[in-house]
Symmetry: C2
């Protein structure tokens, strides 16, 4: 498939999967997902475009490998058993996922657009499900809680990184929001505008995470 054979025959390879994923993440950080093209990546690696297809079947395959790489270490955030109660350990895992996505420009977009099934991604899921099962949650509850926490975290971080994109003044569409709210008749949006346009994304994230964990507490037993 996309992995060359083991013994080094002929000239040593100039690139490999690991180096290519690293270069792709660097390019992502510098220029963003829209500018991450196979040609530009090949340039950065000093090879021709076609060479990339010996290591990745498609660009989607490369993006999946990037997502898997980004998730590295997140599984360890739970800490050893006994280090905090189940809700604190679960919260650490969710925060670690958000942090991992924030660590790369458009990280959430890459993650949301792929379906990595490598050890980093599976390890994270196993960790979170494990914390809940060991806390006494049923298998169904633990599995569904994993999805709820993951989907919220990815959804949140997608918005967080989108809001921070344009780069210069304030939030991007906070302007459009203010304008529309001022003109139209959205009384509740008008009343909550300061919070809605706040850029304290950590506070937004912690609020949603707390809802999910409080909800889990209510569902338990």
């Amino acid at each position: 498939m996309s992995t060359p054979s083991s013994p080094t025959r002929g000239r040593p390879a100039r690139i490999d999967r690991t180096r290519t994923v690293e270069a792709a993440l660097d390019l992502l950080d510098e220029s963003g997902l829209d500018a991450l093209t196979m040609r530009r990546l090949a340039d950065a690696l000093g090879v021709q475009v076609g060479a990339l297809y010996r290591y990745f079947a498609t660009k989607q395959d490369l993006l999946t490998a990037m997502a898997e790489r980004m998730a590295g270490g997140a599984a360890d955030a739970a800490g050893p058993p006994g280090d905090g109660d189940w809700s604190e350990r679960a919260a650490r895992l969710a925060r670690a996922l958000r942090t991992a996505l924030l660590a790369h420009r458009d990280g959430a977009r890459v993650f949301a657009g792929t379906h990595a099934t490598g050890p980093n991604t599976l390890g994270f899921s196993d960790s979170l499900v494990g914390v809940l099962r060991e806390a006494g949650f049923g298998d169904g509850e633990a599995a569904r809680a994993l999805y709820a926490v993951t989907h919220f975290t990815v959804g949140h971080t997608l918005e967080e990184q989108a809001a921070l994109r344009p780069g210069d003044g304030g939030t991007p569409e906070a302007g459009a929001l203010r304008e529309a709210v001022a003109a139209g008749t959205y009384p509740h949006l008008a009343a909550t505008l300061p919070v809605l346009t706040s850029t304290d994304f950590a506070a937004h994230f912690e609020f949603g995470l707390r809802l999910l964990l409080d909800g889990l507490r209510a569902v338990r037993g």
Copy 2:
């Protein structure tokens, strides 16, 4: 900008914003987001590609108009005040958003990739924040709850539509998941595999939504 002037001078226009968005949604349903190109859309409308740029500044602008269109009607799902308690009304809004996204192929991807600020989108937000404020939640809580519910719903539906993509047998990466879990050592994923690979997405959604609403109940007062 992208809106032609009002009085009909010269020949009547062959296309307009509304017709174009409708054709784009049809094309989306038939072929998916990856196949939705400006050229194919122009073909479907019987014009040349360049003509589209008289109505939409960029493809992103078109996608935003599509997202806004998809959100139509979702704001009304709360029903009249008094029709159910706050949590039931909020749940109806969240379900209406999921349903609106599911109504179009790749609907969640379109919605997640844009930032519509039209009346449908703002009306939905105003509705949900309104339900919570009228139930006695503070402005900050109501605004942040809007984000939590919306991000969870979009994140969930993104996964739901991604899982249903390939189309033929079972879930797409359920196979990859089973395989990896069988080979590797993920005891908690192995134990919960039946639920993790379940395609009852409505149940997954309802569970996460319940966590958020139970969490809100716990936070109130």
